[in-house]
Amino acid sequence: MSTPIQHPQTDVVVLGLGHMGGPIAAELTKAGYNVVGIEKGPFWDFRTDWRQDNKDDEWGIAVERKFDHPLYISTFTIRNNMNQFALPVRRYTKNIQYHALGHGVGGVGVHYGGGLGRFSPWSYQPVTMTKAKYGDAGYNTILSNVKGGTPDIEDWPVTYDDMVPYYNQWEQAIGVVGTNQCPFIPNAKFPMPPHPSTPYAEIFKTAVESLGYTPFPSVSALISGAYTNQYGVSRNSCVYCGWCGGLCNYPCEVGAKTSSHVSTIPYALTTAAGKGNFDMRLNSYVFRINTDSSGKATGVEYYDSAGQVHAQPAKVVFNGIWGFNLIRLMLLSGIGNPYDPVKHTGSLGRGLTEGYYPSTSSASVQLSVGANAYCSGNAAGGGYNIMDLNEVNPKYNHSSDLSFMGGVSLGFGSYIGSGPNTFTTQLPSRTNFGSTWKASLKDSKIPAKITATLSGTGPNLPLLEHYADLDPNYTDIYGDPGARITIDWDANTYRVSNYLINGSTLITDILAKMGDPTTIKKNTVQELSSHVDWWGHHMRGGARTGANKNTSVFNKYMQCWTAENVFAAGEICDTFGDNLTAGTHVAGPMAYLAAEGIKMYLASPGPLVS
């Protein structure tokens, strides 16, 4: 290894300039601190890199992944249990989405769908609030019914009310769209109005209102008008082109879909850089956080694009790398206590859950209206949600069936906007070829009458058997071990959907109000009928924030228990994930909380929680 190029010490070094790193860079430079941002990929300029004649390319983006993480640099390995050899993900394929990592400023936010929504108070306190609802005995019954492993559930160290100010800062920064009339997620004031609703969304809205529920417009990160955030960064409105990607593939050519590259980093690059306190290092791959004898971080080492090693000393290291790579870098650097899956001790890697979910039971009905399934990405909105069928609603009570916990954020009516999606979902089968199949595809995306399908998906529970560690067989391109995940579906999410579809009439009552009841069809999926064979974008836990330093990695200020000047944020730090929304919206406030923690630490170094 060559002698590292030594850089002068900075106040904060930010690893990864995506959804998490952006707010840290903006907030700390705004506060006058010197910040160095290190990003694995390039800076994409949406005006040129993603101009329509370069971007409207389904093959290039959805399959070749020309704006995403190249797998030859690093990948992950996957197994369902400790007795298996973990297989590496070797390529992106067209049919299974949600598994490309970000590469460049903006991170995964470059190509995510942009569908947002706050966690409910229950999602922050699943233990306390479930016990309050069903009693200690009821909660224990739920735990005893868990299938697939031993539950390892904890409350977050913060409550929903604690997080409201940080939600507000984050939503203002990225320009969240919606009108939160949901009674169960209070004090939400989104800065942008919702997108226009679709005819079929209005059908859903009328149906659920007649049943006494409270629908609210779906929440989105695609802005509905011209917008300027608290940093003075201005952006264009969504143009409803359809290429933002219901399948989370496409960057936005007008800058309407938010990540750090159009909201926070531009501030750091202009205002802050004008003061000389922001330095961005692109195409640079961090491979170690260095520590001193006390365990505190001294800075980081990284490779530049020529393979030259650089050393960047810093007073604070913020780890804003995506998912397992956040865990992996800490394991490689000897920071934190690695989880032991046999003795169930240690915390780093523990509590891993998948925010996505398997195919679960559903029911459908035919509506009287048609739709164009190509136009606009579904993440823009246009639909309505209800939280009435969620554990947070006192009236949603399944004490007759305590085999599961959690409920659904039921949504319908968003722009179908499957992205262009002209080929990605056409799977081979015994019959999916030839003239009959071909004829069935003709105009199938512009149906005269659409079918409304509703399904329920509860949370995947953290289990002692599921974790992340270093893989013993595969390395990244530089020779460091890659990350391995040991994870599978548990029964919980299947049971939530089964309760909603078959164990009650909660879903079919809605469908009967939406369309012709004689056309209602149920599709029942047996629990544990499929296994995880890929990774999703919304991996959660694994590097949890918590009140118990034996089972969590970070305290409530996102400060590492074992290295006081290492902070982090991301979905992977969730104490309890809940798949009632994509977890991006939940991670953003965590970054603002971490920014406050870092400011407190720099003003007065030491543990922020004893």
């Binding site: 390529r91 199938s444 512009i446 296994h531």
Partner: protein, 328 residues
């Protein structure tokens, strides 16, 4: 067995390059041959004018002059209409013929079978042009010659452990549970040390071995019904199908069918810039129109997705957008 293929591919080249008359003469000289059938299929699908002309035959004219005149007028009218149609099709054909050179597919052992596979999966028929008119074979050829074929964006570090349920020992560690059983579409399913180009080379060879042992000929020379059965055999990948298991090792039959289906489908619906979907025939079938912004179609922003009766719009390609200056 390659002699048959050679004859076939020669005629195919003629089909692609020569005039309509030459096509007719060459194919009519062997009316029952495979190439004759293909010519008719190609013609009826509308890419070649002469094929369409068969639709205007008027079987019986009676002795009445008036009827004759009416019939002639009617025929003239039909010819006029078909001439216009033919000119359009010729123009499209001319555009599609801009990409004739192959980069990697072997002219004898691979092009005929890949072309036949593509046509079996997406035929030219009454619902419109298929894989042939879309030039799917050119898409597959270009992709196999490029990043896709060379595993350009793949993680290709060993060990290469094929998915299995049996216990396995790797680097001195025994895993009693084998591996996960990934779906064929998952990124964990491909665990070969070789590139997708070799995957295709092996798979195509295995396919011909199977077609010859089970059906007595190369895939491209089987009847349409036989081809359908072969594709289902590949999908089923039954362990009891001894001919199939003997023919396919790496990739196995199901993996190969999945890959072929993926690429044919992608070639039919990807942007024409990648070599397939020529004349945007794939997009025209499914009324793809997403690169029209809400404003562009004169409905005002946000209006298109608010329609409850969807309208059929025509698509734009990257090339169209570039001609317009980037579409911005």
């Amino acid at each position: 067995m390659w002699l048959l293929s050679y004859n076939h591919i020669f005629l195919n080249q003629v089909l692609s390059l020569k005039s309509i008359e030459a096509l007719y003469l060459s194919s009519s000289s062997e009316p029952e041959s495979k190439s004759r059938r293909q010519f008719i299929k190609y013609g009826v699908a509308g890419a070649v004018g002469f094929g369409v002309a068969s639709a205007i035959e008027i079987p019986i004219l009676n002795n009445s002059l008036q009827n004759d005149n009416n019939a002639i007028k009617q025929k003239d009218s039909q010819i006029s209409s078909l001439t216009t149609q033919n000119n359009t099709l010729q123009s499209e054909l001319s555009n599609s013929q801009q990409m004739q050179a192959f980069l990697t597919l072997n002219p004898i052992t691979e092009r005929p079978v890949v072309e036949a596979l593509a046509e079996a999966i997406i035929p030219s028929d009454s619902s419109g042009p298929g894989a042939k008119e879309a030039g799917v074979i050119y898409f597959i050829d270009r992709m196999l010659a490029g990043s896709y074929g060379k595993a350009g964006n793949m993680f290709m570090q060993g060990p290469f452990i094929h998915p299995q349920t049996a216990p396995i020992t790797v680097n001195g560690v025994t895993y009693s549970g084998g591996t996960i059983t990934p779906r064929l579409q998952a990124g964990t399913a491909y665990q070969y040390a070789f590139s997708p180009r070799t995957f295709w080379r092996n798979g195509l060879m295995s396919l011909q071995v199977y077609c010859n042992s089970a059906y007595g000929g190369n895939f491209e020379n089987l009847t349409a019904t036989q081809q359908t059965t072969v594709l289902q055999d590949l999908f089923d990948n039954k362990s009891s199908n001894s001919n199939l298991q003997a023919a396919f090792q790496a990739p196995n039959a199901a993996e190969f069918f999945n890959e072929v289906h993926d690429m044919v489908v992608a070639g039919f619906w990807s942007d024409p810039a990648h070599g397939g979907n020529q004349g945007m025939v794939g997009w025209k079938l499914i009324a793809f129109n997403a690169n029209y912004w809400g404003d562009d179609i004169g409905l005002g922003a946000a209006k298109l997705m608010l329609q409850s009766t969807p309208t059929r719009l025509s698509p734009k390609s990257l090339s169209d957008l570039q001609k317009e200056g980037g579409g911005m």
